[in-house]
Assembly symmetry: D2
Homo-oligomer: 355 residues x 4
């Protein structure tokens, strides 16, 4: 059972390696007979695209979306939407030295061991380039969700030790106001400085992304195993470089007592506090959903590193190529896309509860 | 698409409410023609069972496992294993006051809104009682995994502010040496004291469970979406009261640089450090897998709480019944069971990679 | 990926061997908050039950349904419905001679080879006894479908060479009017005579079951792979002893030209003829669905047969035990149950097409 | 749950409409590190391609396969294989008259009713053009299966009333010896004559395809629901224009008694007769698998037909365009492809039975 699909009723299946002919996918279950604005989808791709600002890798990829099926006269037909994004500007020669090498904390070793054969160029299938396909499906899902009032606010809340503690809902303009995609101007500047410092040192740094979802109707989530936050957790942990996930009070709940933590009801069914993060018993309760996603510092650094090759020989990996010192700004649309994919899937699943 | 199943090739489907006739499930995909020691399964159930120590609820449940099919002459036949655990000692009258009430931070409100009808007795389907079924399937999976060298060490690493920082592998005797299931004797005593204090106050408290898995072969995990740690994350987040999950360096990676975080290879393919937590690119790399699971303080407390009923009337929920002030000790076998279910499933999935 | 589940949104998972403790299953996805009449379910079980008439095996099984969860105060809660039927009157000693024997055209050989271990008593998992679980789920599905106007008419249309050519919709009373469940009185008598003749000879005989479904809304079916008739075909072919399936014109279409076969539209969207059998392009078109299911003569006969044992030794299988010479009358509720399971699943799936 | 995927461990997901930009798909689960000869895949496409002989539509499509991912240096990497086939020579203007029209026994009406919006050009998603994607996946599966000794023989066994009764295994050269793909020279000539006669009359005709599979190991099939022949049945019934399926003795078993029908074992585990069609209890028994697939006469005829449009107005559909009077010759590779997809999937599933 290959792991190239995500979702059940709304489902994305992807293909493609970093330096192959193309990446792409098939979106199934997007509701029929709805308008999809492909310009908005392309815009989301551009938020993820490398080379978009001084904070990201100078590697340029056009990332131009081609729709192959399923949308006719601007509207979905209910048939699967095939799409592709051609790979271009792939300097595979940059990766020839990787053919036999196992880069530290990359997937070279595990892919080679698991499959016995791999496309080593640019990380092949293990490259985060595949996340562009997630952004495509997510951007479509967001349009549909927006039409029923579900809206997303996703932003960088931590870079290294610089922390923006907030569960507030910011609009897109506030988030896009700076390259780091942190809506707090002052902290964004500190984050930017920290990334530039790390960049100059040829190193990398991680951080945290906050996602807040408003307008979620009560009832999304399928206990006991497919609790809404469990699936959100899987969706986030499936993104490259993610090492942790927490919902609502998360790890900070460990320092609280039940009497402090319980969300007391108001008479309208809302709650005074929202330590539950909008989900109780695995089902959305109508309060905003909020979660955080921890990204480790990415493995590619511009420093020489000791490593081994396929035969176990000790080698030195040179720090070269075109990479991000910090992927957090580019990861914002990916987190949001995966959240939208999960939400639309559970919205459709919830419809099947009643005749 | 109901959420009562977990896994793909190795799959558990469960049924049952807290105070219904029985809980139970069907285990599919347990390899054929292997011996299963049902006493070991029953023992795992007893580690989860209420009333096992002064630290847990005095509510007594026999939790006696009945196998209905799939095991013949002590060995699996490859056919589905049906099992059930009768509900007994269910004092449903304790819950009559809950019929119309929505308890804070429970699932009463969300179940009622989602389904329009619910078994309110003892929390019904939303009760953590269903996790006994997970323990059954997990205990079977562990026996199979043990035969191929995969072993689990799961223990309490935090209660409130008392923290046992460790990624060490402890054996079962060390973990079972005290009621709190923390292998550090001194910290276990502090944790015990803290739980008793909370118990006396009629309140509740959360904590963290650490799981370490040894002997995992290289190659388990199905990128790009079904990364091994993504599925572990979902499995853990599907357990009642869990609010967070982290693998390897987890949230603490945010304070590191890439050059600090990267796991340098030894010539034998192992790594000097294990910030990756045994998984790289979503695939096990042969190093120990380690992750942490955050449990919030449970919602049931022995204090009066303000709340509402189905009609939005303000009510007071009295703190009564028989409950755990801290579920962590009883959650240890649940975490381990879910980890075993995921590992066996991915072990079988990995076999399908090659002819 | 074990094959114990059927359906996607409405799903049945079953367990149990012929002579084990019990058979049973879990029904997921039955719409929430609907009333289920369990007496009607039990009645369907009795139509399938052995020993119900002179035409069926004298073996008596109580087949008493026990609901374990998911129905509360007479209505579904949306939670999985666990159920079981205890095995009783299982004369396992009748099967001791089968422990090492491979009966011709049974599954003894294939189960032993596939799994390496099997419950040989009464055919174990390969016994048609498991179909009782299908009848339970189907009887629930039929109640839900009936509430939206979908009705089934299933009857025996052929026994050996006695053929009742009809695609008419008969009501339950007409079908139940005789033991053979053929609504044509005269042909039913001929069928009965033929079965008794075969019974007397210690032999067995096959036949055909016709199913007609009325009131199906336009739109059920999920091309391109999950066409409605493709799934109906799989559902029927999964029943023990079934060797063929045809929809609408079926195999008889081979003798027609397109101009004869095409179903011309009336102005109201209905068609003059219904060679399509109610399904076009894999999607129901609102006309009655009709299909036929071919059952071979069952393998158990009351005659001595030459065979082999596990070690390849030649043996003689004695014709003994309590068996049906013709399963067709008892297979009627099974065919209908599987049809209902498919229809309800596709009804729910079709809801997900639109927001 | 959209119906665009087939298979579980080996899985094909397809997209594309007849006159859209392209059709294509994603193949998951093809074993890693095996060589795939893409020329052989292209050759299979050419057996399905229109315009290949005087017996098929003069419509020419290049049907050139483009692999987008998953095959590197001639070998599979275990990553999903994305592929596409550009649509060319699509004379959409031929279909403008169909925009509002519902052609008899086509899917125009059902697609419009189900989805509310459709790509009407050339039948859109309901066109048999999508089966080219099945041929691609099937051709890959066949190469893998061939390496373990599983071989297919698929041929036309009936056109109208001309019947070639055979369950023999013919090799590819024998089948390809004539345009009709019937290995009996004399009957092939009669079939050809019949097709030309029908073609001249502007009508269409159906027929039957026989498939024989040799070298299948004992043990494939996952009872109780995913019996091997049940899945083969679904696979075949999912092909456009198929109305019936039978395995082994099929519908002709209705005229036999059990004592005639039972397949007596030889001491080597094989059977003297093969009425079971190579499958017992849903599991392959090592004997050749044989089944037949009934194709109705296709709906498109070169005659004027009475019909209705979207608004219920009575209209006349003119018989024009470029179509096959008989699709059987071109359907041979499609049947074989679907059989190969099912066999490889069950081969992989069977591996998961044992550790």
């Amino acid at each position: 059972m290959a792991g190239s699909s995500y979702g059940t009723l709304f489902k994305l299946t992807t293909f493609g390696e970093s330096h192959g002919t193309a990446i792409g996918g098939i979106v199934e279950g997007l509701p029929a007979n709805v308008s999809i604005d492909l310009n908005l989808v392309q815009k989301e791709l551009e938020r993820r695209k490398p080379g978009q600002s001084a904070l990201t890798t100078p590697r340029k990829e056009a990332d131009e979306l081609q729709i192959l099926s399923g949308i006719f006269e601007g509207k979905t037909t209910g048939s699967p939407i095939g799409f592709m994004i051609a790979n271009s500007n792939a300097k595979s020669e940059d990766y020839l030295h990787m053919k036999e090498a196992y880069r530290p904390s990359h997937a070279d070793f595990t892919y080679q061991q698991k499959y016995g054969h791999r496309d080593y160029r640019g990380g092949g299938r293990s490259s985060a380039r595949e996340t562009a396909c997630r952004v495509v499906a997510g951007a479509m899902a967001k349009q549909v969700l927006s039409s029923i009032g579900i809206e997303f606010s996703t932003y960088v809340s931590q870079i290294g030790h610089v922390i923006f503690s907030s569960k507030e809902f910011f609009n897109l303009a506030e988030i896009e106001a700076n390259n780091v995609r942190c809506p707090n101007v002052e902290l964004a500047a500190q984050m930017t400085a920290r990334i530039q410092e790390i960049q100059a040192a040829g190193d990398s740094i991680g951080g945290c992304i906050q996602c807040v979802i408003q307008g979620v109707p009560v009832g999304l989530g399928e206990p006991v195993f497919d609790k809404l936050h469990a699936e959100l957790g899987k969706a986030m942990l499936s993104i490259n470089a993610v090492k942790g996930f927490e919902i609502g009070s998360g790890f900070s709940s460990l320092g609280m007592t039940g009497s402090e933590h319980n969300d007391v009801f108001l008479s309208n069914g809302q709650t005074k506090t929202n330590h539950s993060g909008g989900i109780q018993g695995g089902i959305s309760n109508g309060m905003p959903i909020d979660f955080r996603v921890a990204f480790k510092p990415v493995a590619t650094i511009m420093q020489d590193q000791h490593s081994i090759d396929r035969d176990g020989n000790e080698i030195t990996i040179e720090g070269k190529g075109r990479h991000d010192a910090c992927v957090l700004p580019r990861a914002v649309p990916i987190v949001e896309a995966m959240a939208a994919i999960v939400l639309l899937d559970f919205y459709l699943r919830n419809k099947a509860i009643h005749l």
